[in-house]
């Protein structure tokens, strides 16, 4: 079968064959690694990718953060605007989170209107920020019924390598922690709000929390922090959001039955992870 000219396949040939196999049979490729108790990128099942957070890099925004979780890179910027509050909630400001997955971050996203994945992520991030109550909306009030702060928290993914939800939530919290708002005073006579150029104060964030995502393969192999290659092959996806006191804020599980021990183990891992990410 082998030609007479090639007796030893070179390392480059082997790598090429492995890549072709990965493309043609992704699930079998992953299962071969799982059988050896390791993942294609060299991590063990429980290992997380390295996380780096860089806050305050965008000077034109009121707050910003850049998060790198392995290869997944997300930039988040916070812009504050003054708006009139809703009639039935005159003392509450607005928090508008949004994430965009443009074509630049991955070949699976095409240019055009936001894909379903981006919309679903935006909705989940909105739920997570609201459910945790990390920022009290009444702290954004300038003058009840007349002027409130609106915070637009916009994330953009620069490179997508799986687990965008965890990275985006981390980026949003980092940007919110980095945000400073100018001191605003509402003048009742003129109906205008004046912002001070000199005094800026940070946002009163009440809670710190982190989210952890797991993928479960064949009901027994739990892979934490899946990459873009592993994500579509998982049977069950589980996301746990835990605050820094170790209490659960929300859990979402889609795909199938996971045993209670697996669930408990994931929750405990999420707690450890939240403590690690505290700094």
């Amino acid at each position: 079968m082998s030609s007479s000219s090639v007796t030893n396949p070179s390392a480059a040939d082997e790598a090429l064959r492995a890549q072709i196999f990965q493309r043609l049979h992704p699930r079998v490729y992953l299962e071969r690694f799982i059988a050896e108790k390791i993942r294609p990128d060299g991590r063990t099942f429980d290992e997380w990718r390295n996380v780096s957070v860089n806050a305050g890099s965008i000077s034109t925004a009121d707050g910003s953060a850049l998060v790198r979780m392995g290869e997944t890179t997300i930039v988040c910027g916070v812009k504050a605007e003054i708006a009139e509050p809703e009639l039935d909630r005159p003392e509450q400001g607005f928090l508008v989170p949004n994430i965009d997955l443009p074509a630049i971050c991955s070949p699976k996203f095409k240019p055009g209107p936001p894909t379903e994945e981006a919309q679903v992520l935006s909705d989940r991030l909105n739920e997570a920020l609201v459910a945790s109550g990390a920022l009290s909306l009444s702290s954004l009030c300038i003058h009840p019924g007349k002027a409130v702060w609106t915070l637009y928290v916009d994330c953009t993914c620069i490179n997508y390598d799986g687990n965008a939800f965890d990275a985006a939530l981390l980026a949003m919290l980092g940007a919110l922690r980095n945000t400073t708002l100018p001191k605003a005073t509402y003048n009742e006579e003129t109906g205008r709000t004046t912002c001070s150029r000199k005094t800026r104060s940070p946002l009163p964030l009440t809670r710190n929390f982190a989210s952890t995502s797991f993928g479960v393969l064949d009901t027994s192999h739990v892979l934490s922090d899946p990459t873009a290659f592993e994500e579509p092959l998982m049977d069950v996806m589980l996301t746990v959001i835990v605050d820094d006191r170790g209490e659960l804020i929300s859990t979402t599980e889609s795909g199938g039955a996971i045993s209670e021990e697996t669930l408990l183990r994931c929750i405990n891992r999420a707690r450890e992870r939240a403590l690690e990410l505290k700094d």
Binding site: V120, D123, L248, I249, T251, E253
Partner: protein, 250 residues
């Protein structure tokens, strides 16, 4: 707040929609109702077809205004549930199109999502063209303030008392492994979400309890679905099966 909440479930597949293969309406109570329609297997767009299995498309429409990110998120949840419960490999290169219309305003909890999931299941059964591994029944649960009681979400007035909650969807099928409780077949989880309202949190014991409460409530929903289907008239029948008395000839 007790399990009598489920007594006001209303299911209707009788006056079906004409242009689709199957449709059904499900409501937990008059203020929480959804209508679902299923067409499939039909031709898929070339870009959307999958060589080995059917593609599932779910469109969720709210009662008022255009569909937004919340609807997309519910649509993705329903799509994952349909993909897990239907045998898609039997219809390669086709499309299963599910359209869900919310008939009431969105609830602060997950009751509308649960009603939509149940309506989809009934529409799939009504269509009869796609084989399913089992019947998916979903319920929403809420947690009461000062917290350890989890109960099935009842009505809007209770919302002020609720401190969070979630939605659990279970797949019921006699082919699945597991204990048979009462008349309902064994079930397995297919989708779930559980969260606490701002300022509070929960622990894993509560999550396990919530799942058990939801499992029992879902079994009741399954029974309601079965009773309703039993009473339905099939195409071509003059009377429903229950009215016909079958006599054995010896």
């Amino acid at each position: 707040m007790s399990s009598t909440a489920l007594r006001s479930i209303s299911i209707s597949c009788e006056e079906g929609l004409d242009g689709v293969d199957g449709s059904a309406r499900f409501s937990f109570r008059p203020s929480c109702s959804a209508l679902a329609s299923v067409s499939g297997p039909i031709t898929a767009r070339l870009a959307a077809e999958h060589p080995a299995r059917a593609t599932v498309e779910v469109h969720v429409r709210p009662l008022s205004s255009v569909p937004g990110t919340a609807e997309k998120s519910r649509g993705m949840a329903i799509r994952e549930i349909v993909e897990r419960s239907c045998l898609l490999a039997q219809h390669p290169r086709t499309l299963i199109q599910v359209v869900v219309q919310a008939l009431t305003n969105p609830t602060p909890g997950y009751a509308l999502l649960a009603a939509e999931i149940n309506a989809c299941t009934l529409a799939l059964i009504n269509a009869g063209s796609i084989a399913m591994r089992g019947v998916v029944c979903a319920v929403s649960v809420g947690r009461v303030k000062k917290g350890s009681v989890v109960s099935v979400e009842v009505d809007m007035a209770d919302d002020a008392v609720l401190e969070g909650g979630g939605c659990f969807a279970f797949l019921f099928g006699f082919a699945l492994s597991g204990p048979i409780k009462g008349s309902a077949p064994p079930c397995e989880d297919v989708w779930s979400t559980y969260s606490a309202r701002p300022g509070s949190s929960f622990d894993q014991a509560e999550l396990v309890r919530a799942r058990e409460v939801a499992r029992e409530a879902a079994a009741e929903v399954w029974q309601c679905m079965k009773n309703n289907i039993r009473r339905q008239k099939m195409v071509g029948e003059a009377q429903s099966p229950e009215e016909v008395v079958v006599k054995m000839e010896i």
